[in-house]
Every structure is written in C-alpha cells, then in structure tokens.
C-alpha cells in the first residue's frame, strides 16, 4: 500500500499531500488539511454536503479519489470565504436563515456558487434544479432558494455599481 504524493490547487494555493491509494478528496480535505467545511453526510454521493468545485464545476468530494484531481483547481467553502466579511451567498444565507443545523450549508453554498458562476441571474426553477442533489432535513428548502435568489440580486446590484 505505497503512499503517493498528490499536488493540487486549493483556494489559490498549491497543496501537496501524501495519501494512501484512492483516498477521497473529502478525506484529504477534512482529515489531512483540516478543511472541515466540506462535510461528510453520506459518502454515497447522495446528499451534497461534501460539494466542492473542481475547476469551477461542482462535484461530490466523497466520490473523488484525490489522485483524480492532481494538478486541478479545487475550491471549498473556506476558499470563497473572504478574510473579512462574507461572500454575498453567505450573507444571503445568513439573512434568510437558510439553515438550521448548518450541516448541509457548506454544500448548499458551494452548489449555489457554481450556479451563480454559470448563470448570474437564475430563474426560480434554475435554482431549484441546481439544488436537487443537496439534501436539507431542517429547512424545507424554501429559505435556501430564497437566499440564492437574494444573493443573485445582491451580486448583480454590486456588479452594476462597480460598472458605474
């Protein structure tokens, strides 16, 4: 069971980890790097609480051997949290109480980030479709969908102001 060294980009920094064969990205993030915002809800690809972005695309880090992302760009919730203040999505989730226990929240924010990166002005249906792989047992989803809408609006207002 020879360990190998894997290098990838995490939140703009190059990281190097030594792993046993086929260690998941989820495990590397949580257990080796201490990036525990990426949650462990099912390890079956069924709940979305471990959602990260690989080269900007959402993936379930529980299903991803870290070797597969060697040299790739990985983004977690830690990566998008500004040093001061919050990302507009985080702000919107906070304002809308779009969480209760908070365990699904990192995955929800990450899939929403991917959505707004692809489509800054998603429709209500676009948002609902984007979130179908992310399970929340507490909120009934309505506050979450509302938060994503609010974040999209806030980000487009910000963009508008910057353009002016």
């Amino acid at each position: 069971m020879a360990s190998t060294i894997v290098t990838f980009e995490l939140g703009g920094r190059e990281v190097e980890v030594m792993v046993k064969p086929m260690t998941t990205l989820q495990s590397v993030l949580r257990n080796q790097l201490g990036f525990t915002a990426t949650k462990e809800g099912c390890r079956q690809g069924g709940c979305g609480s471990c959602t990260v972005l690989v080269n900007g695309e959402p993936m379930m880090s529980c299903l991803l051997p870290v070797e597969d992302v060697a040299g790739q760009r990985v983004t977690t919730l830690e990566s998008i949290t500004p040093a001061e203040g919050l990302h507009p999505l985080q702000r919107a989730f906070l304002d809308a109480n779009a969480f209760q226990c908070g365990y699904c929240t990192p995955g929800m924010v990450m899939i929403s980030k991917a959505l707004l990166d692809h489509d800054p002005a998603p429709s209500d249906d676009d948002i609902r479709q984007a979130l179908t792989g992310n399970i929340c047992r507490c909120t009934g989803y309505r506050p979450i969908v509302r938060a994503v809408q609010a974040a999209a609006e806030a980000m487009s207002d910000d963009a508008g102001e910057q353009a002016r």
Partner: protein, 450 residues
C-alpha cells in the same frame, strides 16, 4: 407576564449563523486526533438467530487490526437507556451475547488503525448463527405461537401489570350504545428514519489524568454520560462529554448507542477511537420512528358531538424497547386529541418484533396519533353530514375541560388557532364559530356540553 419586552420577541440574528455559513461550526466528527483508531461493527445478517460461535482468527491477521470487542469485554453489558428514569427491564445488550433479535444487531466491535483495515477485519469475522423464526408485524407478534422476541415470554412491554398503557375515562361501552353513529377506522404508518444530515457518531479520547473526553453529537449529554458510566462501570467523574451543535437530531440522537462502546475501546487501547455511523447504518440499523397500527372507534351524536372514543394502538418497537414504552404513555395521554370527549378508553401497546428497533423521533408517540385522529375527524364529519371545520369546532376542547387522563385543560387555544387558519385561507366561518372561544364553558352561554 412582562408587558414590555426588549429582546424576547425580536428576530435577532442567530448567534451561530456566521459559523454555519462559513463552515466553521465544529461538529463532533470534524475533529481528528493523532493516533486515532476507527471502530466498525460486525452486525447480524439475520433477523433472529442464536449465536453459536464467533471466529476472529482471520480478522486478527488483517494488517492494522488492533483489537476486537465482544460481549464479555463490556463490564455491564446492558443497554437500557431509560434505566436512568427507572424504566425496566434490562433487555438489550451493548454487544449481543447468545442471541440476535434483529438484522444489524451489533455483535463484535472491531478497532483498527484505519477505517479500511476495520472494514476488512469486519469482513473477516466469521459468525456461526442458527436462524430462528422471526416476526415482523405487531398483531402477528401478539398471537399465540408467535416467535418470542423478549426474554420474558411475550412480546409486549408490561406497564405495571398491564400489557398496554391504559386510559379509562367515563364509560365508553354505554356511550357507544347511546350514540347515533359509530365511526371506525384503522390507521397504519411505516417506520421512518430521522435522517439527520450528520450521522450519529462520537470520538472518545483518553486524557493523561485517567479521564476520557467524549466528543459526541448526542442530543442529551448527561443522558449519554450517565449511561456510559453505568455500562462501563466507571465513575461519571472520569467522563467528560463535549457536545455542541448537532447536525440534526429529530430524536435519532437520543439513543446512547455509540458512546459506551467507543469509550470502552478507548479505555482498552488507550488511544482515541472514532465510531461514526455510515449512512446505511443510520438508515438500516439506528432506531427509527415506530410503525404504528391504530384502531379508532367513535360514538357520535347526530349533532356531531363525539360522546365516546376507543383507541387501540400498537407501536412496533422492533427488537428492543429503547424509548418506545415512553412514547406509548405519551401517546395514551394524547390519543383522544384536542377534543372534549366524555368517555374515552385507550389501550396502547408497545410490541416487540424482529425489526430494527424504534425509539424517539420528532413528535414522539403523537405524530401518528394526530394523523389517525384528524383523518378520523373527517370521516366523522362526513358521517354526520357537516363540513370538516364544523366537526372540529363542535368538539374542540376548552379551558377547564377534563381531559381523559384527568388533567384540566388550561392552555387550550384550538378554537382560536382554527379561526386564524380559516382567516388565513379565506374560509368564511359561520358566526357561531367566529364567536366561539376557548374560555371555560359556561352553561348560561353556549349551552355547554353536558
């Protein structure tokens, strides 16, 4: 109470909100410790069987295997969470002894250097089991000749000499005779999984001073600590339980299922030990909401007044009772519903089957009573020929009414709540229901109910 409030009543921002949206909230499994071992369970593949032998020899040869724990390693191998509040008998085991009573019952705990090694060792434990007949239905379990799940000869939990929790109020039989209509219903519900997003789990860590810190996502820290202390036969002051934000509970984390064995493993290995349920364990092994079968019989007068209600309920406790006996008592106190019914008889049975045990879940004993009751109310309305609002207003309880368990109603607001709901949906209520209140009945006003 206080007429002027500063903070209570304000939607202040949640104090844990920033932690949640940044992912910095620390859940129990977010911790990791140097040298931490992983615990995985060998579970029964059969619903009901005698354990003839356990062969660990192949498992012990797996690289990374540290040790196995069986029933004989557990100082007080009884898992009876409600023993803390005097509920008996002690019937469940932390690790199975000579018999398994449900598929998934824990038999051997494997502790290994890595999760992978633990899985591999688990796969190499050989069990010699002799399958026994099993029973899965609450009423089948009560029939003569049914396979017996318990160690005391029948499949019901005993309540002070009765096989069910009883409520007797008034004289239902007489009232049924005098009733204009009899309305009957049978209601069945499936077992349900709490499905918290964070699975049940803990990490037990030996301290230098002979104490053990247990990081756990239990819903009840002292419940877990006290039970662990009993099972491990060590003083509670050697245990230090740390919880915090739980990634969803819904009742599923009131069981004390992971802490005792993880702590024991930490004691025996002097290493930190993590025991976290996989999602499939959470679904297939951890306690569920019970399945229920509820028989309801009501005697009703032509004017819609319910004069008698007889309820016979069976909760499928599964192989062990855990918290279900308590759910039945709570159920019995509420099975007549928020209505003023002068004659009530309730028999609520906690039944053992060879199913995955049930225990607490949000709405403990009442969710399914409410389902049965409120569907039954619609059937009564239809039988009497009134609309569903009317039947509820006619029978709604008021302050000062005596409930079947002989407690006076004092915080009744069913009427006001129904009025508000009608307004919300734009349903126009007749004036008499608009004027109704939950204030104590007064014979001089609406004629009372006597």
């Amino acid at each position: 109470m206080s007429s002027h409030l500063n903070v209570v009543g304000q939607s202040v921002r949640r104090s844990d909100g920033i932690g949640h949206v940044t992912g910095r909230t620390q859940y129990s499994a977010d911790r990791s410790f140097p040298g931490m071992l992983h615990l995985k369970m060998v579970r029964s593949p059969l619903h009901h069987a005698l354990i003839k032998g356990i062969d660990l020899s192949d498992a012990e040869r797996v690289p990374g295997f540290v040790r196995a724990l069986t029933a004989k390693d557990v100082p007080h191998n009884r898992y009876t969470i409600l023993s803390l509040i005097g509920v008996e008998p002690e019937e469940e085991f932390v690790l199975a002894e000579d018999r398994v009573r449900f598929k998934g019952e824990a038999i051997v705990a494997i502790v290994a250097e890595t999760e992978a090694a633990a899985f591999e060792a688990v796969s190499k434990v050989h069990l010699d089991l002799e399958e026994l007949p099993a029973v899965f239905d609450v009423e089948e379990a009560l029939k003569p000749g049914a396979p017996i799940v318990t160690h005391w000869g029948n499949n019901t939990f005993m309540y002070e000499g009765h096989p069910c929790r009883r409520v007797r109020f008034g004289d239902v039989d007489k009232a049924f005779e005098q009733a204009d209509y009899i309305v009957e219903g049978v209601y069945n519900t499936s077992p349900i999984e709490q499905a918290p997003m964070e699975t049940t789990g803990c990490i037990a860590v030996p301290e230098a001073n002979g104490r053990y810190i247990v990081y756990t996502n239990t819903q009840a820290l002292y419940f877990s600590l006290d039970n662990t202390s009993i099972i491990l036969q060590i003083p509670g002051n050697r245990l230090h339980f740390i919880g915090g934000t739980v990634g969803g509970g819904f009742g599923g984390k009131v069981d004390v299922i992971v802490e005792p064995i993880a702590t024991l493993a930490a004691i025996l290995t002097n290493r930190p030990v993590r025991f976290t349920y996989s999602r499939s364990e959470e679904m297939q092994v951890s306690s569920t909401r019970s399945a229920w079968r509820i028989y309801m019989k009501d005697g009703v007068m032509k004017d819609g007044r319910i004069v008698a209600r007889k309820v016979t309920s069976y909760a499928d406790s599964g192989a062990y009772s855990r918290q279900t006996p308590y759910a039945l008592t709570k159920h019995a106190a509420n099975a007549a519903g928020p209505y003023n019914i002068p004659n009530v008889s309730i028999d609520a049975y906690c039944v053992y089957t060879n199913r995955q045990p049930s225990s607490a879940m949000r709405g403990f004993g009442i969710t399914m009573a409410s389902f049965a009751l409120e569907v039954q109310m619609d059937k009564i309305a239809e039988r009497v020929g009134v609309d569903p609002w009317t039947i509820r207003f006619i029978n709604a309880y008021r302050n000062g009414d005596m409930k079947p368990h002989r407690k006076l109603a004092e915080d009744a607001t069913l009427i006001e709540t129904m009025q508000a709901a009608a307004t919300l949906v734009g349903h126009e209520l007749p004036d008499e229901f608009k004027a109704m209140t939950s204030a104590p009945r007064d014979a001089s006003h609406d004629g009372g109910r006597e």
